[in-house]
């Protein structure tokens, strides 16, 4: 399910890339930004792919409900690779977190969401 969702998004993104030539109006652009954009990530490649999928699934599952999405991400990650994961989903926030190295994902999604997932015990 998650895989399907993400690939669909990625495909959309590719299309978006072509369409997003300079001059297209903002609405178009915003619609085209409907793909995950990993900003900072120090995870292993395999884990990263999986985590991005989880985030995408969770956010799509709970549209507009960031709290539920964040909780969903956290639970999935806890299940996937050990306890003490934290997730933040939101449109605007500042953060300073201490995380275990190789366990951090900071990504944008859907053109208006910032998602931060990290592990710290």
């Amino acid at each position: 399910m998650a895989d399907l969702g993400s690939t669909a998004n990625l495909a959309a993104a590719d299309k978006g890339a072509v369409a997003a030539a300079p001059g297209t109006d903002e609405k178009d652009a915003k619609r085209n930004f409907n793909y995950p954009l990993v900003k900072i990530c120090d995870m292993a490649e395999e884990l990263r792919v999986e985590a991005v999928d989880m985030v995408v699934t969770a956010v799509e599952k709970h549209p507009g409900n960031f709290e539920a999405a964040a909780q969903n991400i956290k639970e999935l990650m806890d299940k996937r690779c050990g306890n003490s994961w934290h997730a933040v989903v939101g449109e605007g926030y500042g953060f300073e977190v201490t995380h275990e190295m190789r366990n951090l994902l900071y990504m944008y999604f859907g053109g208006n969401l910032g998602v931060l997932v990290w592990k710290a015990s």
């Binding site: 978006g16 890339a17 072509v18 997003a20 030539a21 652009a29 085209n32 930004f33 954009l37 900003k39 900072i40 120090d42 939101g90 449109e91 605007g92 926030y93 500042g94 953060f95 300073e96 977190v97 201490t98 995380h99 275990e100 190295m101 951090l104 900071y106 944008y108 053109g111 208006n112 969401l113 910032g114 931060l116 990290w118 710290a120």
Partner: protein, 685 residues
């Protein structure tokens, strides 16, 4: 009741002190004096009076004061007023509590002869000493504060117990005795298992802090940038091969600029200086132990075996770039005791290549201070004894060069031109001589082409003069006369080493590959002054003694080291070292000490004053390598040996190896005497 002790303890307690009679005070003092019983011999005690004591006359002192003790507590409040609820007024309470409890003790045990003890249950006696708040009261309270309250308390308790026991006899019911002071308690304790704590501390997983702010515009910017990059990538992708080429071009562009910046980096003199200092610091840290040994370690076993010595290996100098080269020359700087140069080349005919001159300091064993690369292998080099920065170098291709450390460039200051007087065979030794009459520096070189050549450093060029051609067979003067025209037919001996007489500038000895040693003079260029026969194989080194100027020593491939007087054609002494002797050197501090480096990796140090037959130290310095050269530091007790693996090892001489004159003789006389003994004559002074 006399309260003697109290008055002593608290003489100024007003209420109590008044009643005490002075008489009793005195008698108390008397008691104290006699208290020891039979201590009459003690000096009489002198009464120490407090400053403010009343002066009383004798009659006053003798006056008897009657003291009445009553049962009123002087501390008890006399004017207690309580609110009377019935009458709703405050009323003074007439009941003043005069009871003072001085001591209270709960007893656990009872004496078995007392009936009281027959109580059915263990009696818990409550004993209280109740006394009227008289003068005695103060005593008891005060004494309770003294260090032994327990003893007092016990006494009081005991008395009280007995008194009370009789009083309360009737009240208590009688029964069988249960507790008669003969307890028998039994207890045992099992061993407690010792506690043990064990813990480990794992390293926490590495952590990092990240901070950022998420907001709509930053998200938007990130997406836009991502889109632009994707577009760029797409634009490049169709280009295909062209793109790859472009990348390669970029690489090419990057590389040269990088090396360029690096160059600038190293040429910055300030930075260079800082780097050198840091390098020194690092080395000082790394080799601190060796440096300590170099300065302070003395082999303790030398005291036990006075006729043996040892060599302590110190730093090893290895030039990474010249690992496959052999050490072909060593020369200490005559001014800086820690500085020396090493020549790298190859003795192997089939394995020739560029050579190298490296200048090392003992302070930095890890990397040379400077490096000069030469076209051909370096075979010999020599530091100028006065001009400390000048190095003469002899190369395998027969040319000679002069380097100056003061020059900024790595190119030689002078180099012999291929046409002008260049040797045709490797230059086996170069040696600076005193400046000539015009003040020009000059040096000599010897080569297997049979020539000894003098090179003079003029302003712009290197001038050469052939000093002698080494004829293999030296004819008698008549024969030379006859055949002087066809001199070319004579085959020449291959010179391999030479050394100048320390005092007579014109005199020198030459060792040849044929094993012969010739004494020559600059003045006679086709005649030997003397020919020394003794060696069967190539002579690798000849050295004049530093003190006894007529004595020199030679080292040869025929495993022997021979000691000669340059006026005799037969050796005075011969030492067999069981291996080809690569080099030999006289110690600068003693006339009788010399060291030899052999092809089986041993360094042999002889002290003829100690032992004329055996080396006093024979030490394996390297394994699987031949030692090629050896050199004494002119100032410090340090020996350098080079091997054919490109390694130079510094060795510290133990105290026995650097003994100077024992008898106080002149160094030259010492060696002279030894030579006389060797010849079978008696030594003279």
């Amino acid at each position: 009741m006399k309260s003697v002790r109290r008055t002593k303890i608290a003489p100024d307690a007003p209420t109590l002190g008044r009643t005490a009679s002075m008489h009793s005070l005195r008698s108390a003092n008397g008691d104290d004096n006699n208290g020891g019983g039979g201590e009459d011999w003690l000096p009489p005690k002198v009464l120490l009076k407090p400053a403010g004591q009343l002066q009383l006359t004798e009659t006053e002192l003798n006056e008897e004061l009657t003291r009445i003790l009553n049962a009123n507590n002087p501390h008890a409040p006399q004017n207690i007023a309580r609110f009377n609820h019935r009458e709703r007024v405050f009323k003074a309470s007439p009941n003043v509590d005069h009871l003072v409890v001085h001591f209270e003790f709960d007893g656990y045990m009872s004496y078995k002869n007392v009936d009281e003890s027959s109580a059915p249950a263990p009696v818990k006696d409550s004993v209280a000493v109740v006394e009227p708040p008289s003068g005695e009261a103060g005593t008891a309270t005060e004494e309770a504060g003294t260090p032994t309250p327990a003893a007092e308390a016990g006494k009081d308790g005991g008395e009280g117990l007995e008194e009370k026991a009789k009083e309360e006899e009737q009240k208590k019911p009688k029964g069988p005795l249960r507790n008669q002071f003969n307890f028998s308690e039994r207890a045992s304790q099992t061993i407690n298992n010792p506690f043990r704590e064990r813990w480990t501390n794992t390293e926490p997983p590495p952590q990092r802090t990240l901070s950022d702010t998420v907001n709509q515009w930053s998200i938007y910017d990130a997406y836009v940038e991502d889109q632009l990059q994707k577009e760029k990538a797409k634009a490049k992708a169709p280009a295909g091969g062209a793109g790859a080429k472009g990348l390669k071009d970029e690489d090419k562009n990057i590389l040269p600029t990088e090396t360029h910046t690096e160059d600038v980096y190293y040429k910055n003199t300030d930075l260079r200086r800082a780097l050198i200092i840091i390098e020194r610091m690092a080395n000082q840290n790394t080799f601190d132990e060796i440096a300590q040994d170099y300065k302070y370690y003395e082999d303790a076993s030398d005291d036990l075996t006075p006729s043996k010595g040892s060599l302590l290996p110190l730093w090893k100098f290895l030039c990474e770039k010249e690992k496959r080269k052999q050490v072909t020359a060593l020369s200490w700087n005559s001014r800086f005791s820690d500085f020396f140069t090493v020549g790298y080349g190859s003795y192997d005919f089939s394995n020739q290549g560029p050579g190298m001159v490296a200048g090392f300091t003992l302070k930095n064993p890890s990397y040379p201070e400077f490096l000069y690369v030469t076209d051909s292998g370096v075979m010999s080099l020599d530091f100028h004894p006065q001009h400390h920065s000048m190095i003469a170098v002899g190369l395998y291709d027969g040319s000679v060069a002069v380097y100056s450390m003061q020059e900024k460039s790595d190119a030689p200051l002078f180099k012999s031109a291929p046409k002008a007087g260049k040797h045709t065979d490797p230059v086996w030794q170069v040696s600076w001589q005193k400046d000539d009459l015009d003040g020009n520096a000059n040096f000599f070189s010897i080569s297997t082409d049979g020539r000894v050549t003098q090179w003079t450093l003029l302003k712009t060029e290197l001038n050469h003069t052939d000093v002698i051609k080494l004829r293999l067979e030296m004819q008698s003067p008549q024969e030379i006369e006859g055949s002087i025209d066809d001199g070319q037919l004579f085959s020449l001996a291959g010179g391999s080493c030479f050394d100048f007489h320390k005092q007579l500038d014109h005199l020198f000895v030459v060792g040849t590959e044929e094993g012969k040693i010739f004494k020559c003079s600059k003045e006679y260029n086709n005649q030997y002054l003397l020919s020394f026969e003794g060696h069967q194989m190539s002579v690798y080194a000849v050295r004049y003694n530093h003190f006894h100027h007529n004595v020199f020593i030679s080292a040869s491939a025929d495993w022997t080291v021979k000691l000669w007087d340059h006026d005799e054609d037969k050796p005075i002494m011969s030492f067999d070292l069981n291996s080809s002797v690569g080099d030999i050197a006289w110690a600068p501090y003693s006339s009788t000490v010399f060291a030899a480096a052999t092809a089986d990796g041993k360094v042999c140090v002889f002290d003829l004053a100690e032992n004329k037959y055996e080396p006093i130290s024979e030490q394996q310095v390297v394994r699987k390598a031949k030692l090629t050269h050896i050199s004494f530091n002119p100032f410090e007790p340090v020996l350098l040996v080079g091997d054919d693996k490109g390694q130079v090892i510094s060795l510290k001489l133990s105290p026995n190896l650097r003994k100077k004159n024992k008898s106080g003789d002149d160094e030259a006389t010492k060696l002279k005497n030894i030579i006389l003994i060797a010849r079978g004559q008696s030594p003279t002074d």
